[in-house]
């Protein structure tokens, strides 16, 4: 067997929901433990590092605001990849992944908006402004809610998957807009100081807790995503079994009617 076909076989092995359930059952407790560990270290660093000379204590809001904002965009990127998986490769788990990532992404976006607002009030003097960065992230939040509503409105999961996959891919245009909004427009929100071509401009004292918290948030996302995908697979199994049971009951009733005649 060639190396390529072996790789394809492994990929399609994972596409089997039963295999996915077996594999994820082994993986998730380790990921949950790693998440807890990184949060413990991260939160310790959050409160043991010094405050900023200008921002004082409020700089600590950055350690949750920035990772949450990154994750809100990464989650959407995961959904866009899953949407491609649905439309191009027809991977059976792709729409399960896209559907279950949406509520998680909405929560991370919500955290980014709330903590940003609570940081904006003492630092900018306002809870909210309709500048390009804040508005584009708010649009992202609305898109997450829209996708959740769409998935709930369509009963047939395969039909919902196709419609939402197209919507996800169209909405992906918002991700570079969010990232570059601070460069393209004059915003109250500051431009990037960590992910930039010439390297981070932020002091290592603040970068250390930020990186650990970013890893913790990423691990949290993937742990919850895997668990939510498991739930969705079980939900579809329940639906299939109920259909089978209803069909069997229908056949049984028809057979009884026949004998009564």
């Amino acid at each position: 067997m060639s190396e390529q076909s072996l790789a394809i076989r492994k990929f399609s092995d994972l596409a089997n929901p039963t295999r996915f359930l077996a594999l994820s059952a082994i993986v998730w407790p380790w990921m949950a433990a790693a998440t807890a560990l990184f949060f413990a270290i991260g939160l310790y660093l959050c409160f043991s590092t010094v405050g900023d000379y200008q921002q004082g204590e409020t700089v600590r809001i950055m350690y949750i605001h920035v990772p949450a904002a990154w994750l809100s965009m990464m989650c959407y990127s995961v959904m866009a990849l899953s949407a491609l998986g649905t439309l191009v490769w027809r991977h059976p788990l792709a729409d399960v992944s896209a559907k279950m990532a949406a509520p998680i992404g909405a929560c991370f976006t919500f955290i980014a908006l709330i903590t940003g607002s609570l940081w904006g009030k003492p630092m900018w003097g306002t809870w909210w402004v309709w500048d390009a960065r804040l508005t584009s992230v708010f649009v992202l939040f609305l898109m997450y809610l829209g996708l959740i509503a769409l998935n709930r409105a369509v009963d047939d999961p395969t039909r919902a998957a196709r419609v939402s996959a197209i919507l996800i891919l169209v909405g992906f245009v918002n991700i570079p807009i969010i990232k570059f909004s601070v460069d393209w427009w004059n915003t109250l929100h500051q431009p990037a100081s960590v992910i930039r071509l010439d390297g981070p401009t932020i002091d290592p004292e603040f970068l250390r807790p930020l990186v650990v918290m970013a890893i913790a948030f990423t691990l949290l996302f993937f742990t919850l995503h895997i668990l939510a995908m498991r739930n969705e697979i079980l939900r579809r199994r329940v639906a299939t079994l109920r259909r089978l049971a209803a069909r069997a009951a229908g056949h049984g009733a028809a057979a009884r009617e026949e004998t009564l005649r």
């Binding site: 204590e57 600590r60 949290l220 919850l224």
Partner: protein, 53 residues
């Protein structure tokens, strides 16, 4: 409000949101597993249920 209040409010909001998310995933999983167990107890099984799960 002083700065510490804003910091505490931000961490509390993040904690509550994450807690709600974890609770949702956990309760959803528990409800689905119960439904499957009830169906199985009623003798309704998947055709491939005999295979490794």
């Amino acid at each position: 409000m002083n700065h510490a209040t804003y910091v505490a409010a931000a961490y509390a909001a993040a904690f509550l949101t994450v807690a709600a998310l974890i609770l949702w995933v956990w309760l959803d999983g528990r409800a689905r597993r119960r439904e499957l167990a009830a169906l199985e107890a009623a003798g309704i099984r998947r055709r491939s249920a005999g295979e490794a799960r």
